[in-house]
């Protein structure tokens, strides 16, 4: 998992990334100095819980990806089975998603889907 984050870290547009378990625990992270590890984890956890809960309540399938775009960049959360990949980018562009999706695919192979839909 660390290798995947290390690879992402090399991208100029990545400010940080982390892998969060479906219980909201940070498994591993690579964050730039100005990013608060706990704040990012809390934000990602909150987003995942509320979005997943809301979708379930509305009778929808679970989400695959969340992108929160803000003035200073994007926060991207991708469902990778038993874990979530969280990436903070410097500037928003859907072109980056290819790299993020590639990392997510690798993570999915490492952490195949189990029973994580009860949020």
């Amino acid at each position: 998992m660390e290798v995947i984050l290390n690879r992402l870290e090399k991208e100029a547009w990545v400010r940080g990334s982390m892998i969060v378990s479906n219980e909201g625990m940070v498994v591993v992270e690579r964050l730039a100095g100005d990013l608060d590890r706990d704040a990012v984890a809390a934000l990602a956890g909150d987003l995942v819980t509320e979005v997943a809960g809301g979708l379930k309540e509305a009778g929808h399938e679970p989400f695959k990806r969340i992108v929160l775009s803000a003035t200073t960049g994007d926060l991207v959360v991708v469902d990778c089975g038993t874990v979530y990949l969280v990436v903070i980018t410097a500037v928003g562009s859907e072109a980056f998603y290819i790299e993020i999706d590639s990392a997510a695919q690798q993570l999915k192979r490492l952490a195949p889907s189990t029973t994580m839909r009860g949020m």
Partner: protein, 376 residues
């Protein structure tokens, strides 16, 4: 018959139901032509078509949306000119016009970006610090996050350090204090302005007639008042009652979204962009309007996600939210803040996030059309 009235406007020659198919086709063709011209970048012709069409179909939401879209594009040209000017040389006037335009267009983040650059180039200019404060105030009155008000006070204080006679700084300080329910604080700033500018009739009238009637707290603890307004998502006093305050609250007060127009715009624009569900959520998570299938479920989902996104914006130093996109087998769900509300839409995954966001912008623009359209 109501449908005909809505489609063809009031006070015009009554149409019979036999006319309807022909006129509907005519309207559709006019809209299609106007939108085709917009897509081709032929804005002037698109406006002409839309204006002519509106004479015949006065409440046609999609034609109105075309005109408003073109106006925005026109403003963008001026913005580009000003941006080029400040890139080429240090020009205080260009900076100020650019910031004011961004504020008026509701581009608060861009306004802040320019204002901060303005300060970088003119660090000792009280006016630059006041412009930054204006941007924070515009954002504060739109979103009511206390941190923006605090930032505005900080910038105004700095401006007054640089120039203690900076009247605009005191006027703005008074505006903020009045709005959050601290008329005593506001009164002090107003008194100082009137001492330096005794002929200011509007401020005098405000001090004598409006200020004493404002809601106030026994103790004017600014921090407590700011937190209270943020929690309630409501200001005790109407900022537009303050001289010059209307400019900052136009989006919140005058930009009320009409549920009727929203439904009409959602039907037209939504169908064209294949948006299946749309909702508008007001401050405090109150549903304002909803369109499409399974309205209740969708509005509940949108409200829940909106609340999360707002919390995220408040607690995370990540800048202001521009939009939130959720993707899954259900399609794409996009939420976009739009001044005093958030709008949400769901569309198939084949529709890009940009396209959905653009559709939402058009629906909101059309839903905030002027009063004549509200008469339907």
């Amino acid at each position: 018959m109501n449908f005909l009235k809505k489609l063809f406007g009031r006070g015009r020659k009554a149409h019979t139901s036999e006319d309807a198919p022909q006129l509907a086709r005519e309207l559709e063709a006019t809209v299609a032509e106007a939108e085709r011209l917009v897509a081709a970048g032929r804005f002037e012709e698109a406006t002409q078509i839309a204006e002519t069409g509106l004479k015949r179909f006065p409440t046609a939401v999609r034609l109105r949306a075309v005109i408003q879209y073109v106006r925005r594009v026109g403003a963008n040209k001026r913005l580009a000119q000003l941006k080029k000017t400040i890139d080429d040389r240090k020009d205080e006037r260009a900076y100020r016009e650019l910031i004011a335009m961004h504020i008026d267009l509701g581009n608060r983040d861009q306004a802040l970006e320019v204002a901060q650059r303005f300060i970088g180039e003119f660090p000792d200019s009280a006016e630059a610090h006041i412009d930054v404060a204006e941007v924070y105030l515009a954002r504060y009155f739109a979103e009511l996050f206390a941190r923006d008000a605090r930032a505005a006070v900080e910038s105004l204080t700095r401006a007054l350090e640089l120039d203690e006679r900076a009247l605009r700084a005191r006027v703005l300080m008074g505006l903020l204090y009045w709005s959050i329910g601290a008329p005593h604080h506001a009164g002090n700033d107003i008194a100082e302005v009137l001492r330096l500018d005794p002929a200011n009739a509007r401020l005098q009238e405000f001090r004598d007639q409006v200020l004493p009637k404002g809601r106030t707290e026994a103790e004017e603890d600014i921090e407590v008042l700011l937190d209270g307004a943020e929690d309630r998502q409501e200001l005790p006093n109407d900022p537009s009652a303050y001289p010059g305050g209307r400019r900052f609250v136009a989006e919140r007060q005058g930009g009320a979204l009409s549920p009727k127009l929203f439904a009409a715009a959602a039907a037209g624009i939504g169908r064209r962009l294949r948006i299946e569900q749309l909702a508008a959520i007001g401050g405090g998570g109150r549903p304002l309007a909803v369109a499409g299938e399974k309205k209740e479920e969708f509005v509940r989902l949108a409200c829940r996600i909106d609340a999360t996104a707002r919390r995220a914006g408040r607690h995370m130093n990540f800048g202001t939210m521009r939009r939130l996109m959720v993707e899954g087998k259900f399609g794409r769900l996009v939420l976009v803040p739009a001044g005093n509300c958030t709008v949400a839409a769901r569309a198939p995954r084949s529709v890009t996030t940009e396209r959905i966001a653009e559709g939402l912008e058009m629906v909101v623009t059309a839903s905030r059309a002027d009063g004549s359209a509200e008469e339907e």
